[in-house]
Amino acid sequence: MKIYHLVSTLVLCSTLIACGAKAPKSKAVYMLIDTSGTYTRELDKAQRIGNYLLGSLNSGDSLAMARIDSGSFSEKDIIYKVTFDMRPSMATTQKHRFKRQLDKFISTAKPSAHTDISGAVLQAAEFLNETQAQEKYILIFSDLEEDLVRGQIRDFTLPLVQVKVVALNVTKLRSDNIDPRDYLNRLDDWEKRVSEGGGLWRVVNDLDRLDKLLDS
């Protein structure tokens, strides 16, 4: 009775310690930025999304950004990748560095001749699987119009098990205005490919709703 409070606290702490450390529920986000043709004019929006991600992700989370160009299945296209340190101060420093790299990329990006989205998604899936994060996201900032170099083979199932693929700012092309079915077919095709690969598909065109971007 006399030391009831003290004993109960000690018991609680012992029980908590006995439970053992749990795996952190970390997130891994891979953002693909289309740099083909006129889409480079949309890059300021990509910068906004990048800033949002830097503000949302915490220690233990991973973030990578890569451009989509003519041959995107390559590490060379990765702008910057990082897994945020467990210490909040270090994580903040990493975020500052990431932001500097992103700003540099946005200001120096050049349009690419072709658009290899499939290769970029494949590269992203590889990175995400390596992080072993619990929640994996691929954010595709593109009009989703794939324009492969002759000879590139990309008509296979993408390995996207438990990966959430979010298409951002899917702009309408000039041809879409003539026949909107092209736009809808493009979205349907990508949804089908993602679903076949075991992933979850989502489209977010309203960039004012970024707060729901990483919702489970």
Binding site: K2, L16, A21, N51, P88, S89
Partner: protein, 486 residues
């Protein structure tokens, strides 16, 4: 067989079937009336008896608990009074050791001073040298009429001069003697003052002692009343316990808020030490670490106050020898100071982290970070709070002890009240069940009122017939009264 089928057992006509069922039921109830009445009454009685027995048991338990509570309260009161009396005796001991232990020396001083004063007094009493005895005779001769004889006149003149000279010498000697006496009296002044001071200090000590003894007498009287298990004292102690319970509870709530603020100060920077992601049992390790630090501070405070004998939660610490206790005081105080320093630095780190995050947030939204004036004020404030709060939390041991001791009494009172309420409820329920049984019997009779009415009618008729028969017999006997026909 469903209920509907049972209802329609006698006829396809629901009304008719129900009527038959009613007749069957009423008949059955009428036939079983006596047994049913007995069963209902017996059941109601048994329930009432069982509940009354339960109530009696509960009341007995309540009485035992009241007695036990009283014992506990009186015991606690006795212990408390013993402590007070012990402390008073210690104070008396201190006074005696400090003031009255010097009594022999003071007495010696007083005696010496008195002797000195007496000697001085004697010295001051010495009479001045008187003029020679022949001087009176010479004075008389000098006052004789001179006549005309010059020789005689010269002789007498000479005698008169001698007398005056002797008188002057006497006056001079007297003045010198008076001056000496004055000097002696002057020397006595410090002795008087010393004497007065010694007596005054002894008087203060004795007065203080006298006050202490009055207080001890009161406490002893209270203690005696507790030993006699006086009800009034028990009531006073209970009331005091309740007050203590609420006051200590209030202080503990305040301390709890202090703990929460302390936790907020160190939880964020703690993630710099143990990582911001790892979890234990669904809780962030950094949060648990912050909580543990606060708990350790409270524990150190408990041990510190125990070692200082301010609280008495751990008898093993109170019973340690003084040397060990002093060591414990030093150790706990050192740990507490280290923890307070750690908290102060963590609070500073929290401020730095907050600044860093703010800068990042501003950078992400594209706003240039500006210099805020007097930014150091909250930093210093947080550091000071981080250093002060652990020491403030250390004192939580005092209200905690009061709360624990008082809660023993309050829980006892609450339990007895609960038991009393339970006993009352059981008694009331028993009585209600008994009355419900009686009502059920009446309702039973209401259901079978028809056969009962018929029975009553038959009985009345039979009774009327019996009365007629008796009347006839009486008439007959009257007619043949005494065997003589009128």
């Amino acid at each position: 067989m469903s209920i509907s089928e049972i209802i329609m057992l006698w006829s396809d006509n629901r009304g008719l079937s129900l009527l038959i069922w009613a007749i069957v039921l009423v008949t059955a109830m009428y036939l079983a009336r006596s047994s049913a009445h007995q069963s209902i009454a017996a059941m109601a009685r048994s329930v009432r008896v069982a509940l009354r027995m339960s109530a009696a048991s509960l009341m007995a338990l309540e009485q035992r608990m009241v007695k036990r509570n009283k014992q506990v309260i009186l015991q606690a009161g006795q212990e408390s009074t013993e402590r007070v009396i012990e402390r008073e005796f210690q104070r008396v001991n201190t006074i005696v050791e400090r003031d009255l232990s010097g009594y022999p020396a003071a007495q010696r001083t007083i005696t010496d001073l008195i002797n000195k004063i007496e000697t001085d007094y004697q010295a001051s009493n010495e009479t001045p040298p008187s003029p020679p005895e022949w001087l009176e005779a010479v004075d008389t001769i000098s006052r004789i009429e001179k006549g005309g004889d010059s020789t005689v006149s010269q002789v007498l003149q000479s005698i008169q001069e001698t007398i005056e000279s002797a008188h002057e010498e006497t006056v001079k000697a007297y003045r010198k003697s008076s001056l000496d006496r004055l000097q002696v009296l002057k020397k006595m002044l410090p002795s008087w003052r010393g004497l007065s001071q010694t007596v005054s200090s002894m008087s203060t000590a004795v007065t203080d002692l006298s006050e202490r003894t009055v207080f001890i007498d009161k406490q002893m009287e209270k203690y005696e009343r507790m030993r006699r298990k006086d009800d009034q004292v028990a009531r006073v102690l209970t009331s005091s316990s309740m007050t203590q319970f609420f006051v200590a509870g209030l202080v503990l709530v305040i301390a709890l808020f202090g703990g929460v603020i302390n936790y907020q100060l160190i939880a964020l920077p703690m993630s710099e030490m143990v990582g911001g992601v790892s979890q234990i049992g669904g809780w962030r390790t950094a949060d648990i670490a912050a909580m543990v630090i606060i708990m350790v501070e409270v524990a150190m405070g408990l041990f510190l106050l125990e070692a200082l004998r301010i609280t008495h939660l751990f008898p093993i610490i109170s019973s340690m020898d003084d040397k060990m206790r002093k060591r414990m005081v030093i150790i706990t105080l050192t740990i507490l100071t280290i923890l307070a320093s750690v908290e102060a630095s963590l609070a500073y780190m929290r401020d730095l982290l907050a600044l860093d995050r703010e800068a990042l947030a501003q950078s992400l939204v594209g706003v240039a970070a500006g210099n805020v004036e007097f930014r150091w004020i909250p930093s210093i404030g947080q550091m000071v709070m981080g250093f002060i709060l652990p020491f403030a939390l250390a004192f939580v041991a005092i209200p905690l002890e009061s709360f624990i001791y008082a809660s023993r009494t309050v829980i006892g009172l609450a339990t007895t009240s609960g038991i009393r309420l339970l006993a009352y409820t059981a008694k009331m329920t028993g009585q209600m069940m008994y009355q419900a049984g009686r009502i059920t019997i009446h309702v039973y009779d209401m259901v079978i009122f028809l056969p009962l009415s018929v029975e009553q009618l038959v009985r009345n008729r039979k009774a009327a017939l019996d009365i007629d028969d008796v009347d006839g017999i009486i008439v007959k006997s009257d007619e043949t009264s005494g065997g003589v026909k009128s």
